[in-house]
């Protein structure tokens, strides 16, 4: 291998030769660059890479490979998180405990495997690592599908509603005030006459003459006829109506008073 060829660049530092005596295939460097999620992730990588059994880890082998990586990373002056060094110490500790002679087993006491805690953690981490991948593979709103939201037209102007109660209250307040100002009396006109007055004025809006009879609604019953007649008289009194009869017993015509047009 040509020592001058840059084979990789780690954090901007050119890497010109592969370190010797490492069980690291050249492509593993890319993974180093890719940055592991932490020492557990690195250990899992080594275990999977070399078909080691996560439930029966050969500690000597794993420790050697792990330390080799750490050494490589340190040679490249990569800033190592303290967790990596802590893990290295832990691996060495487990390895050395395995080398020590085991105390004789007692009948009711299981001797704990020094690797047990590490294996539990590796399993737990791997489980979450896979869970993360599965979560990422699940269809996700905004990335893999869109939610539908149909715009509602800019809100129609909301009009205030008036209830009968509101009108009644407003009028009651007026009556109250009227009672206080005794010089001013609010009389209630016969409503139906008032309404009929408005009705007649409205039906004369055209301005022309209308026959007297046509203003009456015979189907409305006698009270209605009387109310209409009274309303007409009331309007005539206020010069809002002009009533004409050209001959005795002739047709009577009605139109808006000239002032009411």
């Amino acid at each position: 291998m040509n020592g001058d060829t840059v084979i990789a660049s780690i954090h901007g530092e050119p890497l010109k030769s592969l370190p010797h005596d490492l069980y690291i295939p050249p492509d593993a460097l890319e993974l180093v660059l890719d940055a592991f999620q932490g020492p557990l992730d690195l250990l899992l990588y080594l275990i999977r890479r070399h078909n080691l059994d996560v439930l029966d880890i050969p500690m000597a082998e794993l420790t050697r490979q792990y330390l080799a990586y750490i050494e490589l990373l340190q040679q490249q002056r990569l800033e190592l998180a303290a967790e990596y060094l802590l893990m290295a110490a832990m691996l060495i500790e487990i390895k050395s405990r395995l080398l020590l002679p085991r105390p004789p087993k007692t009948a009711d006491e299981e001797v704990e495997d020094p690797r047990a805690e590490l294996m539990r953690r590796l399993q737990e981490y791997e489980q979450m690592k896979l869970a993360a991948q599965k979560l990422d593979e699940m269809p996700q709103a905004g990335r893999d599908f869109e939610f539908i939201e149909v715009k509602v037209e800019q809100k129609l102007e909301r009009l205030p509603q008036v209830a009968l109660e509101d009108l009644k209250m407003a009028f009651m307040q007026l009556l109250e005030r009227a009672r206080v100002h005794t010089h001013h009396t609010v009389r209630r006109e016969a409503l139906s006459v008032r309404e009929q007055m408005s009705h007649i004025l409205r039906s004369l809006q055209g301005g022309g003459f209308v026959s007297f009879e046509s203003l009456f609604d015979p189907d409305g019953g006698l009270p209605r006829l009387i109310v209409t007649f009274v309303a007409m008289l009331e309007l005539a009194k206020e010069y809002l109506l002009e009533i004409q009869q050209h001959e005795t017993f002739g047709n009577i015509y009605v139109r808006l008073g000239r002032t009411a047009i």
Partner: protein, 183 residues
């Protein structure tokens, strides 16, 4: 007849589904040129519009409609659905001022009345805005002028008011005599 009849039926149906989905999923109105990105083969503007008209027809009896607005095509809730949508998002309904309500009450109970009549009963001036509010709501109207100096306009209430109050006739307004007893 539809102009998109030129396209094979299968393709038409497929394009309609894609267009409908894209317009529904788009937060902004979709332009015809954006829609052109959705078809694998280029299709003419006429064919595109004809597909849109067909989608419009498909939705014609639904609560949502496809409309063309200045910046493209979009779906929107039909205005008459607003009442239902409001139930999900109840807002405090706006209210009329006391001046508006009292003016309306006076016109209802004393019609036909002039502005002067209203002012006399209320004891304060009636602003033009108050009358305009009631007029534009369709609740009062001018039905003539009074034979008096200045020929003041006469106001009366409309059938619209009765409809909106759910009354058949003005007689059904609560009588103020009764109200006095309740006071």
């Amino acid at each position: 007849m539809s102009d998109s009849a030129g396209l094979p039926f299968e393709l038409q149906e497929k394009l309609k589904i894609i267009l409908e989905t894209a317009i529904l999923a788009s937060p902004e109105p979709l332009t015809l040129s954006q829609m052109n990105l959705l078809t694998d083969e280029p299709i003419s503007r006429r064919e595109l519009e004809s597909l849109l008209f067909e989608i419009q027809r498909d939705w014609q009896n639904r609560g949502i409609e496809l409309v063309e607005v200045a910046s493209g095509w979009r779906f929107r809730a039909r205005p008459h659905m607003q009442a239902y949508l409001d139930r999900l998002n109840p807002q405090k309904p706006p209210r009329y001022s006391r001046a508006v309500l009292e003016t309306l009450a006076i016109i209802a109970y004393h019609q036909p009345v002039t502005r002067g009549d209203i002012e006399e009963i209320r004891g304060v001036a009636v602003s033009s805005q108050t009358l305009k509010t009631l007029e534009s709501r369709g609740w009062i109207e001018v039905i003539g002028t009074k034979d008096a100096p200045g020929r003041p306009e006469l106001f009366a209430t409309t059938k619209q008011l009765l409809d909106d109050l759910n009354l058949r006739a003005l007689e059904e307004l609560p009588s103020p005599g009764q109200m006095m007893l309740e006071v």
